[in-house]
Each structure stands twice: as C-alpha cells, then as structure tokens.
Subunit: 319 residues, 2 copies
C-alpha cells in the first residue's frame, strides 16, 4: 500500500483537483440538487432552504437555488434547465396544475415536493404540513373567542396551502353552524401587496368582520400594514390571526397570534428524503405531514356581543 501514499503526495505536490465536469460526464452523477422555491425573500422559504443546506452540505451535495416567483411558466423553464445538471430536485410548485406534475415526471429525476403538491399527489414524495388542521385550529380559536363574523384572506386556490387552508377553515365554520356573509372570503395571492389590497377591500365592506384569518405570512404583513394605515386597532376593533410565524411577530404591535409550523426541519426532512431516493430507495412515494401549532400572542381578543341589528350600519367600538 505504498502506492496510495505516493499518489496522495503527488496530488498534494501538483495541486491536482479532479474536474467535476469530467467526473459527472463519466459517472452520470453531479452531487448537486436543485431547490426551487417561489420566493427566497419569504422568511419561510429562506428557513427551509437553510434546512436543506444543512443536510446537503454534510453529505457533500451542492445546491442550485431557483426562484419561480410563483409563476408556473417560469417554473417550467427552470425544470427544463435542470436536465443533466442535478441529481434531484426539491420543489415548491407554483401551482397544482397537472401540467406541473407532468413536466416533473417528464424531467424524470428524483423529486421531493415541499409545502405544496402538484399532479397526482400519490405519485410524488412530499414533505408537507397539516394545513387543514392548522387552519381548523385558527377557526376554532376565533370561534371560541366568540367571533362569528370572520374575514378569510386565502391564497390561490390552485396551490395546496391555498386550497387546504381555505377548506380547513371553512369546514370548521360549517361544522359549527356559522355562516359567513358575502364578501367575507377573499382570494388573494400569497404576496404582501395582495394582502394589503384585500384587507383594504374588506375594511370597505358595509360592516367589516370582527376577526380576520390570513392564510400566509406575507399577506399577513400586508394586512397588518393596511390596518395600520387605516388606523384600525388590533385587536380592539379587529382580531387578526396569521398562518406561518413571522420572525418578529412577538415584537409587533400587537404581538401577532399565528399558526406556526416547523420550517428548517421541513427543509432538512425534504433533503433527507431526496438523499434516500438518490441512494436508490425505489420504495413507493412517501408523504410526510408535519403538525402545526397555535401560537397565542395578543392580536386576537374576545368578540364583543353584537347588536342583532345595526340600523344605520355604522361601526361600533368593540372590546
């Protein structure tokens, strides 16, 4: 075994570095994975990416990062570009369209869906959270506080979290026999500006709701900004609960009550799952679903008893 030593020495002396391109060409393996998220600027995804990175690094994998900007077309382009460049992909699809699923299957590479599904759910590995359960927690919390006139600001219904949070929330209302007046359920776009505009619209209703559930963090930031701009007191005039923790949520005015969930753990889990796939575990797709938790802070107050009829339609101060 003296040869091995001599080789090591020569590598050292000559500063030899193997060339990844040549290695890949020969071995058909890149030791790289792609992570495709809608927006790295969303703290949730930043955290997820960090979780992915922590595992990837440990295993010697490199990460290609892509922003789809919540745009299916852009996402298609990205997936197409991935061919031959990575061993696998962790993807948060921009929408649930079967097209997205088809494109992925066409790319024929190990894939783990993260936070959202697409195509036929049973065909993909995925790491998700219990959105329905989380939204239901929020609904029950608001109901238990006495609110019956609740606004719901949803994400796009053609995304998994958009649809399931919507469904989970409304299911509880229905189950408890609470019916929402028109204009109470608004579909927005998971973006801050969307939340802002939607909140404005909701405030302009003849009698605004007494509480709002906002289905993600960015929209919730927009809602908060709108309420701030319109000088609506939270939770005095309006209770607010968000989905996804915001980094400084506890320092906000008031500290924000939210449905929280694991973030970097989700990323780490996704990477581990992908690693298994790469190791050739051809088992049938796994769906891992993580639990949410209700983080009670101070943005929700008990509903003041409401007059059964409000003759002149003006708001009355509450709580």
């Amino acid at each position: 075994m003296r040869a091995a030593e001599r080789v090591r020495q020569a590598i050292e002396d000559l500063g030899f570095r193997p060339q990844p391109a040549a290695q890949s060409l020969k071995s058909r393996v890149t030791r790289s994975v792609a992570v495709v998220v809608p927006d790295i600027t969303n703290p949730y995804f930043a955290s997820v990416v960090k979780g992915v990175d922590s595992i990837a690094r440990k295993e010697g994998y490199n990460i290609f990062l892509y922003n789809s900007e919540e745009d299916g077309a852009r996402e298609s382009g990205i997936i197409a570009d991935l061919y031959g460049r990575v061993d696998g992909v962790i993807l948060t699809p921009a929408d649930e369209s079967p097209a997205a699923g088809a494109r992925l299957e066409a790319a024929r590479m190990p894939t783990v869906l993260l936070d959202r599904e697409c195509g036929e759910p049973e065909r993909f590995n995925a790491v998700l959270v219990d959105n329905e359960g989380g939204a239901a927690q929020a609904a029950r919390y608001l109901l238990d506080l006495g609110h019956t006139d609740i606004g719901v600001i949803c994400g796009p219904l053609n995304t998994t979290p958009g649809r399931t949070r919507h469904d989970g929330f409304l299911a509880v209302l229905e189950q408890r026999g609470v019916e929402l007046a028109p204009g109470r359920v608004q579909i927005s776009d998971f973006r801050e500006e969307g939340g802002y505009q939607t909140a404005l619209r909701m405030l302009a209703l003849e009698t605004p709701p007494t509480a709002i559930f906002v289905a993600n963090n960015l929209m919730c930031a927009g809602v908060l900004r709108a309420l701030h701009d319109m000088r609506v007191g939270v939770p005095g005039e309006l209770s607010v609960i968000g989905f996804d923790d915001l980094h400084l949520a506890e320092l906000l005015d008031p500290p924000l009550t939210v449905i929280g969930r694991p973030t970097d753990e989700q990323g780490a889990l996704a990477m581990r799952l992908l690693l298994n796939l790469l190791a050739g575990e051809a088992a049938r797709p796994r769906r891992i679903v993580l639990d949410t938790r209700l983080v009670i802070r101070e943005s929700c107050a008990p509903a003041a008893p409401r007059a059964p009829a409000n003759p002149n339609g003006t708001r009355r101060p509450r709580a």
Copy 2:
C-alpha cells in the same frame, strides 16, 4: 440553410437535450456562479440573493447557494469545493483575514466581493455600501437628539461592516467631543442571540446609556427582544437605532428608526459586475460603493436633560 431546420426538427422529435457535463468538459464553462453568504435566513442576504438571481436568470446563469454561517473555516471548504464547478463567485467573506483573500486568489476565479472585503481591498471587485457614512448618520442623528451617553453594539471588528460601522460611529462622537463611559462599546457577532445578550449586559450597567446604536438587523432584533423582555420602554427609557432595515420595522412597537440601504440592487449590481468579468473585461478591480439613508420612524426620542450627578445611581424616567 435547410439543414439547420432539419436539425431543429430532429432535436424536437428525439427530445434531445445537450448534456451540461459534456458541454462543460469541452468548453470549460459551466454557466453557473456561486453565491456565498453568511446566512440566507438574514433578510438582507435573502434580498441580495434575489437580486443576483434576477440578473443571473436573465443571462442564463444558474446559482449555487452556500451558507458560510459566518465561519471562516467553513467558507474555506466551500471555496475549495467550487473549483471547476462555477465560472465565478459572489462572496460575502466571513472575515477580513488575508487568509480568506489568499484562498480566493488561489481559487483563481472571477470574484465579486459583496458587502464585505477581505485580503487587499484593491485586488478585488466589490459592491459595498458606505458603512462609515451610514454609521455617521446614525451618530449625528442621536447626537442632534441630545444623547451623549450612547451604547454601541458592534459586529465583529474583523469584518468590513463591523469595523467600518464602528469606526464611522465613533469618529463622529470624537469629532463632536463626546466621550463614552466604559462598557458603552460592545463587540458582538451580528447574530440575534448576540444582540440579545449584549443588550442585557448593557442594561445591567450601573447607569445604562440613553440611546443605543446597533450595527446590524439581526442583532437589533435581539436587542429589541431583550428590551421587551426587560420591560424597557422604547424610546421612552431608551432610544434605539439600527443598521439595515428590518422587513416589518414600521409595524414594530415602536416603529424602528434605521439606517437603510439598497439590498436587491446590491445583488443585481454584483451579478452584473461578475458578468463583465466573465465577458473578459480584465480591467482593474472596481469598487462600487452605494449610499445609505436615514429612515426616521419612532424608536428614537430626544434625550431628557440629565442631572449632572445622580447620587443614588437609579434610573430616572425620561421623555
């Protein structure tokens, strides 16, 4: 030129996709760049990365993302791994040590430094902000408010922003003849927990300062959390000014006054600069320095006139 058409057709029909590894092996070009940041979870870096991505994508470049975790050793490993994998690198060095610079030069690939410098500044392309100027703005603002007993929570002095913000701030104090009592200047680590602990330590001083300048966003979040936990009123008891905007700064309690600066523009600029290098512009290294701006919100109040001596050393309520 009928051949060209026939080829296109065949590509289409056979679903032919060139193999990046083979292309790279032959052409010695990867159409990939690395972005190495201390922490993608820091909203500042997330935004920077998004800026890089916006340009990269447009030019058909792919981005490898790496987290150095503010750790020079880890950063070394990353840089070493980059060999042959990317055409260039955009890097925020973990520290300013010449070692980091040497490693980069050894890697011998087009490099753009972002936000921080290392090695001999004149040898690298860099996109920076005017940290000294920004810190000076903060100092002047606090001084003009009447504060003379000011706490300074700095980042590591072996990083560019850590050192220059420290220097810029103290230079103004000196220039105005303000001398700081012992314990007023604390070195921390740019992390939230570090800010938290440092703030606690500062509050424990016999007579805490009347205002604090915090040299980055994460530490500032920690400071705010500490003040919140200790029930210290801002700006009633203590004025706070941060460096780097926080996403929800205006919704905080109170809205936070900060030194702001461009973020995604900084990333976009860095990528454009790198693109120039890759295009073979062998011009001598360029340093681009962007301006900061003072964003006045509500976390700083005028200093109450202070009794020249404070016999029993207890705090008096202010403003």
